[in-house]
Symmetry: C2
Subunit: 344 residues, 2 copies
DNA sequence: CTGAAAGCGCTTACAG
DNA sequence: CTGAAAGCGCTTACAG
């Protein structure tokens, strides 16, 4: 406690510069001397003072992770993967939940700048690059996950929303469904927007097919449980308010899927005979339900790891052109879409 | 970018000491002067340099959150609650996943000490206080969550494991079950240990009742998916290897419950007619399954918030005696235990 | 209430 | 390869 480079330097009869070169690994030191310094550091129980280092270098080793809500399994899994990659480099991770609230996001970006973080991985609340301007101005390397930013000013890692939605909804159409309901989150963010647009596209290509859209707005639900309730309400309205209710649901993410399942259960509708259902994200219980759920699973571990790797690269080489990584979703054909699928 | 107290001081014709007193809020400054300083800080776009502050104070505002795995919904929810409380105090949160690996925990504790964190919330991998010794030696206020530490040297927040297990297993016994299987995680940690002990106790009080124990050891499963698989395997063995298989399952946590459900589904056993099931933790889908799951839900938001509050108190008053908070689980009686419950 | 000044523990040009 | 020394941007006794 309280051991500094000065103590080690004195003990070894060298300068603090030499101690720094050995312990911070920057410069060339005679290996015999280096060994002596390392030994003294251990003997004295030396611990780095990251604050001193950060002050001096004007940059810390820490990275910031800015996501909507770690309580969502999708983001929890990404957080885990990011943290694993960071730990391998001895980098601390600051966890920031925004609830997609721009004010809260702004607060956290400011905090991260004040911490002089080495870089930030962010699931931006908006595609407007203006929201991330403070980060850019502070020269902090940034990588987007799950969403992209207009003009692609920074690297991004996200799933192929178009391909996933087309495959899922295409399957519903192939099963003969012509009245399809899309339950999405706010379409201000990339995922729901792209997934919904893909729905519209493929449905407009199919004569006689209609799309019912139900968007869960941000204001209406904060937190996983409230979002489930919201989706349940939306699905109930879709099923009961109309003369010709949808015969199939497309759910833009796993939270929404749970809400729709809740609604179907309460209404006593069976899958796939009464209603078919497909959605983004897979959960362990989806394959344990009586009717298993067809899902486009997102490779969250890959997404998190790749994002971290892209960030570390950007930290090392700030001028590298931003790479946009689109990873394919993994389609898991199960029973809720109607079955009969070859790889079912 | 690059604005310091010196710039503000010059602009206002005061000393940097005064600027610090205004902007860091420590001392008394004439309010007219204070206004001028605050105005200048805004005009110049001043941003704090936390590293400088931490170096000088030898303590940062950051808190460390050390948990097993944020991918587990239980810990994700706690992380969210902790982060909410921390954000309200402008405190950054460092996320550390240990996988209950003592080596990894040690690495993270060292990292947190090097960061001079203001305090740590930890779900300790072992009840042995020795593992947290570095934290104590560094004088870092610590609060335990989900687990307690032998001798209760620090505040702790955890659910009433005994009451929850007794209520759940008591219900199985009341439904006439006499061969009950307990599927637990490693009993080196508090939760599975206490829950299993409670099972043993209540079953030993019941004549003719037998307990089958299946412990999922740490080594055998890292990560949520592997733990589910492990529990599935354990449950399958319990159901198939014995002449007299269990007629009911007690699952020590929600991850294990999913594995057991998986096994029952594959074996074609129905609940509650073939097998009954109860467990700790509740998941949204548990009330959507064909047979809904009776569960002892843990009030994770309360646990996380209380832990943060206890930590902030310990930071303000390091000599306060450690408070142990035991929160009751919320029992949700559903169909998997056999039904017929009044509050079902 | 305010200021002058020391100092927290590192890193890093600059010399040698 | 190694050292002397300045300096990163704050905070905080100490005076006044």
């Amino acid at each position: 406690m309280g051991v500094t480079y000065a103590d080690i330097a004195k003990r070894c009869g060298v300068s603090t510069a030499t101690v720094s070169r050995v312990l911070a690994g920057s410069g060339f030191v005679r290996s015999e001397l280096a060994e002596r310094v390392r030994g003294a550091a251990i003997d004295l129980g030396y611990r780095h003072n990251q604050a001193a280092r950060t002050l001096r270098r004007n940059r810390s080793d820490t990275i910031g992770l800015v996501i909507s809500d770690v309580e969502q399994p999708f983001f929890a899994s990404i957080a885990r993967a990011v943290e694993d990659e960071a730990a391998a480099q001895d980098r601390p991770v600051l966890l920031c939940n925004t609830d997609e609230d721009l004010e809260r996001e702004r607060m956290y970006l400011n905090l991260l700048i004040e911490e002089r973080v080495a870089g930030v991985i962010v699931a931006p609340s908006t595609e407007d690059p203006e929201a991330l301007a403070p980060l850019f101005e502070a020269g902090i390397p940034t990588v987007a996950v799950d969403r992209r930013i207009s003009g692609d000013p920074v690297p991004a890692v996200l799933v192929d929303n178009i391909a996933g939605a087309r495959a899922l909804v295409g399957d519903l159409l192939a099963h003969g469904h012509r009245r399809i309901a899309a339950v999405t989150g706010t379409t201000e963010g990339t995922p729901s927007r792209e997934r919904l647009e893909a729905c519209r596209a493929i449905i407009s290509e199919t004569s006689g097919a209609r799309l019912y859209e139900a968007e869960g707005k941000l204001r209406d639900a904060i937190g996983v449980n409230h979002t489930i309730e919201l989706a349940c309400r939306l699905a109930t309205e879709l099923m009961t308010d109309r003369h010709e209710p949808p015969t199939a649901f497309f759910c833009a993410n796993g939270i929404l899927t749970q809400g729709v399942l809740q609604a179907l259960r309460r209404l006593g509708r069976r899958m796939p005979s009464d209603v078919a259902l497909v959605g983004f994200d897979d959960l362990p219980l989806f394959s344990i339900l009586e009717t298993t759920i067809t899902a486009a699973a997102q490779p969250t571990e890959t997404i998190g790891r790749r994002a971290a790797q892209l960030l570390f690269r950007a930290i090392d080489d700030p001028d590298a052109p931003p790479e946009i990584v689109i990873v394919p979703p993994e389609l898991r054909w199960r029973d809720s879409c109607g079955g009969g699928h070859p790889s079912s």
